[in-house]
Amino acid sequence: MQNLTELVKLAEVAVNDAVDINQLDAVRTHYLGKKGQLTEFLKHLKHLTPEERPQAGKAVNEAKQLLLDLLTTREAVLQSQVLKRRLASEAVDVTLPGRGQHQGGLHPVTRCRERIEAIFTSAGFEIEEGPEIETDYFNFEALNIPPHHPARATHDTFYFPDGHLLRTHTSPVQIRVMQNKKPPLRMITPGRVYRCDSSPRHSPMFHQVEGLVVDKGITFADLKGTIHHFMQHFFEADLKMRFRASYFPFTEPSAEGDVQCVLCLGKGCRLCSHTGWIEVIGCGMVHPNVLKQVGVDNEEYTGFAFGAGIDRLTMLRYGIDDLRIMFDNDLRFLEQF
């Protein structure tokens, strides 16, 4: 029995001296394996008398259990040490940049256009598009602008040799739609438009979004309400609006809509030329001549139409001060959005 106690003591030391799992396994094998030291003790039990056997057997089993417990404990300790070392070695500098491709971005005009489309589709408006090379009929005549009309002077037009032109607004799309679809209608027609204007604050190509609602019972009050909400949602601000009388050949009554200056909120600043207001939209009730052209009975249906420059709204929204910079596509510009 004394040998057993000493053996256990030696085993204990061996277990505690094991520095890794391999060594511990070696200790396990040495003492508890097929030819292990403690296992030998179990084999010797058969040389004992039947009276001595039970007590001896009990002692050996107890020793075995003790060793097993020690091994388990030590294994846990060693494993925890292994884990700790591994964790330490896997630590990284989390402040280093991530690997791979960087995000790009949409052009700010597209961002605004998509937002405008979302605002209107939420109210059931369709988004309609059409050709950019147009005929005189769809761009002018159908919109109550006959040849040589003084209003054509404000639409300096690009022409092709065969008489086609680059559309000066997106209203032609509305005429095309109305030729095929009957009221009730509500649509917006965003897109590129072209005007032959070389003055510094203008670009020969820009973007417009025009809208049209034709239904029974549509009034100027509906026009005011719709546009005011549009501007409030677009600018995400409770901006005041005012509508002043104006003139377009294709609407009557016509109006220009001003929004409270987004920069000074009406107090007066450089952006609004100290008036407190910024002109953002032209609108009006659709002219009877326009509806007649597309076969809509003006007694049954009335409508309103509006048009705004998407680039202008984009510049106001993001504080961009130069229109032409938008089409240079300088990455330092694009990356700001």
């Binding site: 059931g124 680059l166 009050a221 005012r242 509508f243 300088d330 990455l331």
Partner: protein
């Protein structure tokens, strides 16, 4: 149009500041653009819309101010002037439709060296009109004051009679500004027996102009049909205050009053004796003023605001309209000066703008609530853009008209649509493709220290096909620089064909087209012949991908390897709906083969052959390595493929696979002379 505040207040003088008056006018449709103090006066600059010809004068603006402030307007006293002589000059109106009302008179014995009084010069100066000579200054003054353009001829230069007619072929005229114009046959002229004297309503001729030796004049005050004047300024390249007003419609009832006013001022300033008025009128061609039927319920239907009858009558009467009540509303007779009020809705606009648009409420229209379709068969463009954005692209918007030379360089076989009046010679052609604009944007950025450029654009491209103009929506992209942005832990490498192809494949995958598409080597004049592919899907051409031809890159002084792609969106965006094909419960078997073939054998050739031969059990083929070099014969390469086999209903057995593999190898050997790599 500029006018003097002092002059305006002589006509109407409300107890308001000029700023307040300006605000009233702006809100009512006459936009005041600037108010500038000038000496002891103020210059008010108005922007008058094309429909308000009646406001192109002090009288017109004063009327508006009077209406808006409920104040009377003081018109100067204009009486018929004493007729001291009997002289008249015959006037013959040949084209009465163009000139239905013509008034003229002779004034003889004027003092040619008289001086225009200071007060008149001030008024003219405030309105930006230069002082010329007393006779001309008076005509300009009355134009500004009343809105009637007039012209004075040197009577001694007129022969036999004045004729108002259209020009004849080949006629010319030297204008006041010394410009010699070839007259077109649709141009209305004032002429005499000898020939053209003036372009009617636009500008007089130099030969018959009043000079500092003129003693006798013929004064003209006429109404010309706007349709005969419109477009003439542009046609002859001149701008005059006279034509500007005739285009927009001068009051056909103003001519006599205006000529008497001018006569009075002339007699006062240059003296002389006036002859009787010569007046030619053809009522049939004067603009008609039928009464407009205004229905009270229509006012509410259009504006969304109810007006009391008394409010309607008050506003319209203040505007100078005559009303006759009837059951449903009124018959409204409009003053002759208001060319813009011809329809019921025009009268309604008058009510709204005078009452004030701010009084009209703000509503949301009431419409039936219907749900809208949302198709899965067509991908929206925003989602496609988002895919490229997520892959590091920035969106560009480039001009639709581009440099013809650049376009010729990229697409020598195509002729583009060319503008007649481009804004500049570098923007004269409509783009056939998005590549010219993207290349221009690339160059712009490379010139500004940018080395890594990834841009895309969507938009229309234009071409002529026979007699038709075809306008196609496209998506294009350009990439240059390193495949990945500069960063630690990633080896910097220039972008190559396959980096660009990965982005293109991502788009195809988004549209469920990746596995039905193929990249077919094809030549394109803009692309490197060895790195150029046409993208095809289901017998349609979707687009192109390739490297910009190095010769072109060099010619354009661009740096590095540049890759381009472009899609026809009409072909790209339709999507085949997803359909579930089931899942096998049984494990798959993978076998890898390294196959050595000649360099000309493409990945597609190999894959297609393997698919054809292997049959239904082969589910996937992965090409995971391409190797040429040590251990591989010259002119050959090794392509390593992973083959995945699976049966839907049972576990496959090794022997089955081995048979298939052997068959595949046999066929590859026959077709391509392929061998397994050792």
């Amino acid at each position: 149009m500029k006018l003097s505040e002092k002059w305006l207040r002589k006509w109407v003088n409300p107890p308001e500041t000029i700023e307040k008056i300006a605000d009233q006018l702006t809100m009512a449709g006459l936009e005041v653009e600037a108010i500038e103090p000038v000496g002891d006066d103020t210059c008010v600059e108005l922007s008058v819309t094309p429909n308000r010809g009646d406001c192109l004068s002090i009288a017109g603006v004063a009327r508006e101010v009077g209406v808006l402030n409920r104040m009377p307007v003081h018109t100067p006293l204009i009486e018929a002037q004493p007729v001291k002589i009997k002289d008249t000059f015959p006037v013959n109106i040949t084209d009465r439709q163009a000139c239905p009302h013509y008034v003229g008179r002779i004034i003889k014995q004027i003092n040619p060296v008289a001086v225009t009084p200071e007060w008149m010069l001030q008024c003219l100066a405030q309105s930006g009109i230069k002082c010329v000579s007393p006779v001309v200054d008076v005509t300009n003054y009355v134009l500004l004051e009343l809105g009637q353009p007039m012209h004075a001829f040197d009577l001694s230069k007129l022969h036999e009679q004045l004729v108002v007619r259209k020009a004849k072929k080949g006629e010319t005229l030297t204008l006041l500004n010394e410009q010699i114009v070839a007259l077109e046959e649709d141009t209305l002229l004032i002429a005499d027996k000898k020939g053209p004297l003036a372009i009617a309503g636009v500008m007089g001729g130099i030969d018959s102009a009043v000079t500092n030796t003129t003693t006798d004049i013929f004064l003209e005050s006429a109404y010309f049909n706007p349709l005969d004047i419109v477009g003439k300024m542009r046609r002859y390249g001149i701008q005059t205050d006279s034509a500007y007003r005739f285009e927009r419609g001068v009051d056909p009832e103003l001519q006599v009053m205006a000529i008497e006013r001018a006569t009075a001022l002339l007699l006062d300033i240059v003296g002389g004796e006036a002859g009787p008025l010569v007046e030619c009128t053809d009522i049939t061609f004067l603009p008609t003023r039928p009464a407009i039927y205004l229905r009270r319920e229509r006012i509410k239907a259009v504006l969304g605001l109810q007006f009391a009858d008394s409010e309607v009558e008050d506003i319209l009467v203040r505007l100078g309209m005559r009303l006759q009540g009837c059951a449903e509303g009124w018959f409204v007779t409009v003053p002759s000066r208001r060319f813009d009020v011809a329809l019921e809705v025009d009268v309604i606009e008058e009510l709204a703008r005078i009452h004030g648009y701010h009084h009209i409420p703000s509503h949301s229209p009431l419409v039936p609530l219907t749900l809208k379709p949302h198709t899965e068969h067509q991908m929206g463009l925003p989602r496609v853009r988002a895919t490229l954005v997520d892959r590091g692209y920035r969106e560009a918007i480039t001009y639709s008209f581009i440099d013809a030379n650049l376009q010729k360089l990229l697409f020598p076989e195509f002729s583009a649509l060319t503008l007649l009046n481009p804004i500049s010679s570098e923007m004269s052609d409509m783009r056939l493709s998005l590549w010219p604009g993207l290349i221009t944007a690339l160059k712009y950025n490379q010139n500004r220290q940018q080395q890594r450029i990834r841009l895309f654009e969507t938009g229309l491209c234009f071409k002529q096909v026979g007699l038709d103009i075809v306008q196609e929506m496209r998506l294009g992209g350009i990439v240059a620089g390193t495949a990945y942005p500069e960063q630690w832990g990633v080896k910097q490498a220039s972008i190559d064909f396959f980096d660009a192809k990965n982005d293109v494949e991502a788009l195809l995958q988004l549209l469920n087209k990746k596995y039905r598409s193929s990249f077919v080597a094809a030549e394109h004049p803009a692309l490197h012949p060895g790195q150029s592919a046409q993208i095809q899907c289901d017998d349609k051409i979707l687009g192109w991908l390739g490297k910009l031809h190095p010769a072109i890159a060099q010619a354009l002084e661009l740096e590095g390897n540049i890759y381009l792609f472009e899609f026809d969106l009409a072909a790209l965006l339709p999507v085949e709906a997803a359909k579930y094909a089931g899942l096998s419960k049984f494990p798959f078997i993978r076998r890898d083969l390294a196959i050595v073939v000649k360099q000309q054998v493409t990945a597609d050739m190999l894959k297609q052959r393997i698919n054809n031969v292997a049959g239904e059990l082969l589910k996937q083929v992965y090409l995971f390595d391409v190797y040429a070099g040590k251990g591989i014969p010259d002119g050959h390469k090794s392509m390593a493929v992973g083959l995945i086999f699976q049966h839907y209903d049972r576990t496959l057995v090794e022997q089955e696979i081995t048979v298939l593999i052997d068959n595949i190898i046999k066929h590859l050997s026959e077709e391509f002379g392929a061998e397994l790599r050792n």
